[in-house]
């Protein structure tokens, strides 16, 4: 009951929340839905089952999943290092993490492409050493999405690690747990939900990412064409309904995946006794 709260202001706060969500989220999204209603079910299905569209969905979701997984692993290590160990220049490194948030994604894409292209100074070296080309291949998309997704993981894991009670660790040690056991059985389960949240955020961002990807992807149909690019392509052909059909489907799939990830997170938290 609202009356039971100490702080007043439930009504204006709820009113604001609803107004905000309606104007910024619900109305634009329902406009998307309405626009795609111009299509018959058959046409809608025809657009979605187009081989090239399916291929681009695969590229987008697979690349975003891989990138989010890598970002989750790397981000965990980075957050761990930043929280646990003092080292010179730590503050600067800490600030650097946020750069992908601030940088226009197009700039990120151009810079990444320049470095990882076959003649770029990292790309050249990687090709010589392993024969693997990064830029203008699907791998390039993954690299761009890791870059974009990494801060989401670091910034969600970091505060949880910071607040993690060292006494729990000490208790584990005093009860005879090895360092590894303490990590696996005590620390990790507590950090996992935050890592999953970071993963979900990185994934959600990666699926819709356009600016940083188009410069490094190579944009070849069936190989490295992402869904947002296909939406733009449809728009450039004045196929508004087709573009919204793809956009809407993307929205639904992303929503379902996020729902899945959130229930996974809920399950993990319950299992580790945080709920």
């Amino acid at each position: 009951m609202p009356q039971s709260h100490i702080m007043p202001g439930f009504r204006p706060a709820l009113g604001f929340t609803l107004l905000y969500l309606t104007l910024i989220v619900l109305i634009p999204l329902s406009a998307l839905l309405l626009k795609s209603l111009n299509l018959s079910l058959e046409q809608f299905w025809g657009i979605l089952t187009n081989k090239r569209v399916i291929a681009s969905f695969q590229v987008s979701f697979v690349a975003a999943l891989i990138a989010a997984a890598v970002a989750a692993a790397l981000g965990f290590v980075i957050a761990w290092t930043l929280v646990r160990y003092p080292f010179p220049g730590k503050k600067i490194f800490d600030a650097l993490i946020d750069l992908p948030f601030a940088l226009p994604t197009a700039v990120a894409g151009i810079v990444l492409a320049t470095i990882y292209e076959p003649k770029g100074w990292v790309g050249k070296w990687v090709i010589e050493a392993t024969g693997v080309q990064i830029a203008f291949k699907p791998l390039g998309i993954v690299f761009a999405l890791i870059f974009i997704g990494l801060p989401f993981v670091v910034r969600t894991v970091e505060p949880v690690l910071q607040e993690f009670d060292l006494a729990m660790e000490e208790a584990a040690a005093s009860l005879g747990a090895s360092r590894w056991q303490a990590f696996v059985k005590v620390i990790f389960p507590n950090i996992l939900p935050a890592t999953i949240t970071g993963f979900a955020l990185a994934f959600a961002r990666g699926v819709g990412e356009y600016g940083s990807v188009i410069f490094i992807a190579g944009n070849m149909p069936y190989i490295s064409e992402v869904v947002p690019l296909l939406i733009i392509t449809k728009l450039e052909q004045y196929d508004y309904a087709g573009a919204t059909a793809i956009g809407l489907t993307m929205l639904v799939i992303s929503f379902l995946l996020l729902l899945l990830i959130n229930s996974l997170q809920w399950w993990v938290r319950r299992r580790s006794g945080q709920l």
């Binding site: 320049t114 076959p118 069936y222 733009i232 450039e236």
Partner: protein, 334 residues
């Protein structure tokens, strides 16, 4: 006081900015495609001067540039362009058809089919032409890397594609053979950019590819900007005539009260001043007699065909080649 000095200078700067727009009585917006940026910068200055002398009115011309498709869509969606100067007549047809902003027979309203300038498609290669590229047929050589934007998003790329297709059809005698030829050519494309400028960047800045298929004016501009010591233009014996039309957007000028201004602006393109600038900026003037002989000398002679001559109309081209599931999609089917 230091602060008030800063504030004062900021205010002065603001005032200057406001002044720059306020002193103009009327403003028109020219929505154009990517490579015309440099040309219209020069041309607008001349036009503003001419208009002031003729009528005493201070006017301002704003420019908007971007990929042709994107620009067209912006106009259809409500960007208030007084005039459009786009890469394909198909784009302006779409404005007429989808947004009903101008009559369908717009192309008959200005001289020379509303084409104050045209261009063509040429090849830009690395200095010395190490891969020996001379004609369209060379672009399908094995191991060669060709840079071109995506025809579905770039007007220039449509000319690239159509020029290659026309070559294939003439050389090998049938549409199927032409399709095979174009398919082989696009197999050699390692990166598909969404616009002409993007492809130029890929080729020059990134150093990717052996040959860039591009607008003639864009090729000349690249030589001017990045030095003729590193690149050279190869002109194929035959190529497509890139027809880049201009027109007034009727409903917008009526609403803005800029009809006379917009019409004068486009007509000025056909005058000796306009035509000289056109040639100076590497576009082929429709009235070469007005242009400087030196600028004209740069344009190589080659056999040019128009879209209408080889393909019928843009509507047909769109249906046969660029619609979803049409030829361009088919050549990419794995």
């Amino acid at each position: 006081m230091k602060l008030s000095y800063t504030v004062k200078s900021a205010l002065i700067a603001l005032g200057l900015l406001a002044n720059a727009t306020a002193s103009a009585d009327r403003t028109i917006l020219n929505v154009s495609y990517d490579p015309t940026r440099e040309f219209y910068q020069d041309f607008n200055k001349e036009f503003i001067k001419y208009w002031k002398e003729k009528t005493g009115e201070d006017v301002n011309v704003q420019q908007s540039h971007g990929g042709g498709g994107k620009q067209t869509r912006a106009v259809i969606d409500g960007l208030e362009a007084d005039v459009v100067t786009l890469a394909l007549s198909y784009d302006i047809d779409q404005i007429a058809e989808k947004a009903n902003l101008l009559p369908k027979d717009w192309q008959k309203r200005l001289p020379d089919n509303s084409l104050p300038y045209t261009s063509t498609i040429v090849f830009l290669v690395r200095k010395g032409n190490p891969k020996g590229i001379k004609d369209w047929g060379d672009l399908t050589k094995e191991g060669l890397q060709v840079i071109t934007p995506n025809p579905k998003t770039s007007g220039g790329a449509r000319y690239n594609y159509l020029a290659a297709w026309a070559y294939g059809e003439k050389k090998f005698g049938s549409k199927d053979a032409a399709k095979d030829f174009v398919k082989k050519l696009f197999k050699n494309v390692p990166v598909l950019d969404s616009g002409a400028r993007g492809s130029t960047t890929t080729f020059i800045q990134r150093g990717i590819g052996d040959v860039l298929i591009t607008w003639e004016n864009e090729g000349f501009l690249a030589l001017k900007e990045f030095g003729a010591s590193e690149y050279e233009i190869v002109v194929p014996p035959t190529s497509i005539k890139a027809e880049t039309p201009v027109t007034v957007v009727d409903k917008v000028v009526k609403k803005n009260g800029t009809q006379d201004l917009a019409e004068a602006y486009l007509n000025y393109l056909y005058t000796s001043v306009g035509q000289k600038l056109v040639a100076k900026h590497f576009y082929r003037p429709s009235h070469p007699e007005y242009a400087d002989a030196e600028d004209l000398k740069r344009f190589p002679k080659l056999e040019l065909f128009t879209v209408n001559e080889r393909f019928g109309s843009w509507a047909q081209v769109q249906k046969e080649h660029f619609d979803d599931g049409a030829n361009f999609d088919q050549i990419y089917t794995p």
